[in-house]
Amino acid sequence: MTALLSVRDLSIGFGAGEPVVRDVNFDVEAGQTLALVGESGSGKTISCRAVLRILPRTAQIRSGVMQLNTSKGSVALSEISEREMRGIRGNRISMIFQEPMRSLSPLHKIGNQVSEVLWLHRGASESEARKEVLSQFERVGFPDPARAYDSYPFELSGGMRQRAMIAMAMVSKPELLIADEPTTALDVTTQAQVLGLIKDLQKETGMALVLVTHDLGVVANMAEHVVVMHKGRVMEAGSAELILNAPAHPYTRQLFDAAPEIPDKEAVGIPMPNEDLILDMKDVCKTYTMRSSRGWKADKLIYACRGVDLKLARGKTLAVVGESGSGKTTAARIALGAELPDPGGEVLFRAAPGEDPIRVHQMTREERTAFQRKAQMVFQDPYSSLSPRMRIQDAMTEPLEIHNIGTTSERRDKAAEMLERVGLNAGMLKRYPHAFSGGQRQRLSIARAMMLDPSLIVCDEPTSALDVSVQEQILTLLERLQDSLNLSYLFISHDLAVVARIADEVAVMRQGLVVEQAPPETLFYNPRHPYTKALIAAQPEPDINRPIDLKLVALGAGSPDSWDDAFRFSDTMIPSLVEMEPGHKVRCHV
C-alpha cells in the first residue's frame, strides 16, 4: 500500500547557502499521525511547509519528490503549478499554526475567515457555508457557535482561537492536516484539550496528521510514527513505540534525558523552614479596575491576587505555578516592589539573617537602593531583555555604574568573572547580544542579574522560551549558583515538570488564589486540589503507556463552579488554605 503522503530526498536551502534541510524522507499513512520532532533550527517546520510550498521567499526546494496519493489519484506536489497547488491548500491538505492570535486576521470575523475555505474550494454560498461552519464550530467545542461566528479573534481566548483555527483547517474535510506546534503557545490544560480534540477529529474523519513539535510528551500522546530531526537531517525514524521506549540514536536519547518529568514516586517533601525568611508576603491582594466603557455600568474588578501569603526561606526556591491569568506574575512584581499591593498586605524583605526586615512598599530612598541591589530579576524572553545596541560588557557593568560600585576596571573584571561563572568566557564581553544563541542569552541575563551580588532572584519563566536541552543547562546553572552563593529564588513558571526539579516548595495559583501549596514531592505524589490534579494530568509524558487523562483535566481546569463542593469558591465566598498534613496546604472547606 502506498502512503498518503510520501516525501523523498527533500533538500531546502536559503539563497546560495548550504542546505538547511538535507535528504529528508518521511511517509504518512491515511488515518495515522506522524510526528516531526526536533529543537529550534532542526528544519522540522520548514520541511512540513515545503509540502504545501509555503516557504519564506528566499528559500528554495533544491531537490525532492513529494507525492500525495489518494483514491482520487496521485498528485506530485513538487511538480504541479502554483494554480493547482492553490486547489490543494486548505482543501485536501490544510494547516494549523503555532500562534493562534497572530494566525487569524484581527480585522475579520472568525466566521468570515473560516467560511472562506468553503467559498474558495466548494464555491459555497454565504448561507451554505455558514451552516456548515456552524456545525464544524460545534464539533470543535464552541459552546455558542453562532456567537463565535460573529466574533473577532481578539474577543476569544487563546484556546478558543486555536479551536477556530482547527475548525478552519477541518471544515473542508482534508485528507491531510499539518499541525505546526499547534499547542506550544497554549496553557497546559488547554493544550491537553486541544490535543484531545485533534485526535477525536482524526478518528472521526480518518485524515492523516503531520504533527510538528519539540515536546516528546505530545508525541507520546499523539503519534504512531516519529521522525527525529536535528540540524536539517533525520536522526531517527520509526514507530512511536519503538523510538519512545528504546531510542537508538544518541541525539534522541539526549532529548529524552533533557526533558524534565513530573516525579510519581512516593515521597514526602520537607516543608520549607519557617525561620530566616528572606521574603515574606503577607495577605497580598491586588485588584485592578477595568473601567467600563459605558458610564452607567459599574466598573469591573479584576482580582489578580487574593490573600497571597508566601514565605521564602534563605537559600531556598519557592515556585509559583499557574496558567496565564492566574496572578503569578503580579505576585512576583509585587514582591519586587514594582507594584503596590492593595492596602492591608505587606511584603517583608530581610537582606541578611537576623537583620530587621524592610517593608518593600514603604522604603526610604536608601532602603530602596539597598533593596534593588539585593533583589534582581531574570526575564522570560532572552531575545528582548537585552538591549541589541549595547555590548555585553556595557549591559553587565551598567548596574554597577548605577549603584556607583568600583572603578571601571574593577567592574570589567567582575563582568568577566560572572561570565565565567555562568559558563561563558570573558572574551565575549565585547560582543553584541545578536551574536549569542537563546540559551547563551539567558546565561547572560543571569550573569547580569548576578552582578550586584543579590541574595534574591526572581525568575519569571526563565526557560519557557528555550529548547529542552538548553532548558536543562539553564536549570543546572541556576542550581549550581544557588548552592555556591546561597541564593534564594522566587521562581515563576507554568511548567510543573521544571518546577518539580528546581523548587523546594510549590504554590499553585488559580484566579489570583493559591489553591494548593506543598513541597514538590508531596504535591506531585498526593495532589488534593482538583486544579492541581488537572495540571498534573494535563502534562504530557513522553511515555506511550501514560496518555493524558482528559477527564481529569476537564474536571479541574473548568471554572471553579464545576469543582467539588469542598473546593468551590466565588468572588464573595472563598475557603481558606487548610493544612492537610505538615507543609501541605489546600484551599478547601473542611
Partner: protein
C-alpha cells in the same frame, strides 16, 4: 448604534477643538506688535495726511480694535456685541479686510470652494495613485516593479512643484491642448454655475491636481509599501495562503485591510499640508485659491482676513480628521470595541 454615538461624540469634540483653535489663531495673529491700522496711522502721520488718520481712527473704533484683546476675540467670534451688536463669525460676518478695503467675505468668496475643489481633487489623485502603486511595490518587493515605482516616487518627491507645473503647462498645452493658468476660462468668472463652466473647471484642474498631488502621492506610496511589507510577514498571511487563496485576493482582503489604517488616518493631515504647500504652486499656476490671499494677508497684518482664512483651513483639517477617525472606527473592530467587556 456604536457608530452613530461615536460620530455624534466626535462632532462635538470637533466643535470644541475649533473653539480652542480660534483662540489660538486670534492670539497668534495679534502677537506681533501693532496691527494693520496702527501701522497705517503711523505711516500717514509721518507724511502728514490727517484725513487718512481720521479714517483709520474711525475704523479702529468701528472694528473694536481699541478694546482689550479678549473683548476683541469675543466680538470677532460673535459671543459679545461689538459697536453694532452681534456681528461675528457665528453670525456669518467675517470682518473687514483693511488691505483690500472690502469685506472679507467678498475677497474670499469664490476662492473658498475652489480651494476645496482643488484640494479634494488632489487628495483623490493621491489615493488613486498611491494605493495601487504601493500595494504593487510591496507585493513585488525587490523586483523591477518595486524599483521603478520607487524611482518614480522619489522623482515626484524631489522635483520642485513649481518646476513641475511649468513643465506640465508647456507640454500639456503643446500636445494635449490643455489651458494654461487659472481654474476656469476667464469668461466664466463671476458667472453662475453652468454645465460649460463646470467643464471648463475640470479641464483646468488637470495640471494643478497633478502638480499638487505628486509629492503627497509618492510619500503615501512609500508609506503604504512599508506598512504592507510589515503586514506581509505576519502569520495570518501565511494562514490565508495555506487556505488556498490566490495572491491578489489574499493581498486585498487581509494585509491591505490592516495596512489601510494609517492610510485613512492621513486624510486629516493631508489637507493642511496641501493648502499651505500649494501656495507657491497657486501663484505660479495663477489658481484662484485661498493660498496666495493668505500670504498677502499675513504679510500686511491684515488680521481679520488672515484669521478667517486660518479658521477655514483649521475647519477643513478638523473635518478631515473627523472623517478619518470615523472611517477608522468603521474599518477596525479593535478600535470599535475598545473597552468593551469581553
Amino acid at each position: 448604534m456604536i457608530m452613530l454615538r461615536y460620530a455624534v461624540y466626535r462632532f462635538f469634540t470637533m466643535l470644541l477643538t475649533l473653539l480652542v483653535v480660534s483662540m489660538l489663531i486670534f492670539v497668534i495673529i495679534n502677537l506681533p506688535p501693532g496691527d494693520y491700522l496702527s501701522n497705517q496711522i503711523a505711516e500717514l502721520q509721518s507724511s502728514g495726511q490727517s484725513a487718512g488718520v481720521a479714517k483709520a481712527e474711525f475704523l479702529r473704533k468701528e472694528y473694536a480694535l481699541d478694546r482689550p484683546m479678549w473683548e476683541q476675540y469675543l466680538i470677532w467670534v460673535g459671543f459679545f456685541p461689538g459697536p453694532h451688536g452681534f456681528e461675528g463669525l457665528l453670525q456669518g460676518n467675517y470682518g473687514w479686510s483693511f488691505e483690500f478695503d472690502r469685506p472679507v467675505a467678498d475677497i474670499v468668496g469664490d476662492t473658498l470652494w475652489l480651494t476645496v475643489v482643488v484640494n479634494l481633487a488632489a487628495i483623490l489623485f493621491v489615493y488613486a495613485v498611491a494605493l495601487p502603486l504601493g500595494v504593487m511595490a510591496a507585493a513585488k518587493s525587490r523586483t523591477w516593479v518595486d524599483y521603478s515605482t520607487a524611482f518614480v516616487g522619489y522623482l515626484g518627491l524631489a522635483t520642485p512643484n513649481f518646476l513641475l507645473a511649468l513643465i506640465l503647462f508647456y507640454y500639456g498645452h503643446r500636445y494635449l491642448d490643455l489651458p494654461i493658468g487659472g481654474l476656469m476660462d476667464p469668461v466664466y468668472e463671476g458667472q453662475p454655475m453652468s454645465w460649460d463652466k463646470m467643464k471648463s473647471i475640470l479641464v483646468h484642474l488637470i495640471v494643478p491636481t497633478f502638480v499638487i498631488g505628486t509629492s503627497g502621492a509618492s510619500a503615501m506610496m512609500q508609506r503604504l509599501r512599508a506598512n504592507m511589507l510589515d503586514e506581509l510577514g505576519k502569520p495570518y498571511v501565511e494562514t490565508a495562503i495555506a487556505k488556498g487563496m490566490s495572491p491578489s485576493r489574499m493581498l486585498t482582503k487581509y494585509p491591505l485591510r490592516v495596512a489601510f489604517n494609517p492610510f485613512v488616518a492621513d486624510i486629516g493631515n493631508l489637507l493642511p499640508s496641501m493648502v499651505s504647500g500649494s501656495v507657491l504652486v497657486s501663484v505660479v499656476l495663477g489658481l484662484q485659491t485661498i493660498g496666495p490671499t493668505l500670504l498677502t494677508a499675513l504679510k500686511t497684518q491684515d488680521q481679520f482676513l488672515s484669521a478667517f482664512i486660518l479658521m477655514f483651513v483649521a475647519l477643513l483639517t478638523l473635518i478631515g480628521t473627523m472623517i478619518s477617525d470615523i472611517l477608522l472606527v468603521m474599518l477596525d473592530p479593535r478600535i470599535r470595541y475598545e473597552g468593551r467587556e469581553a
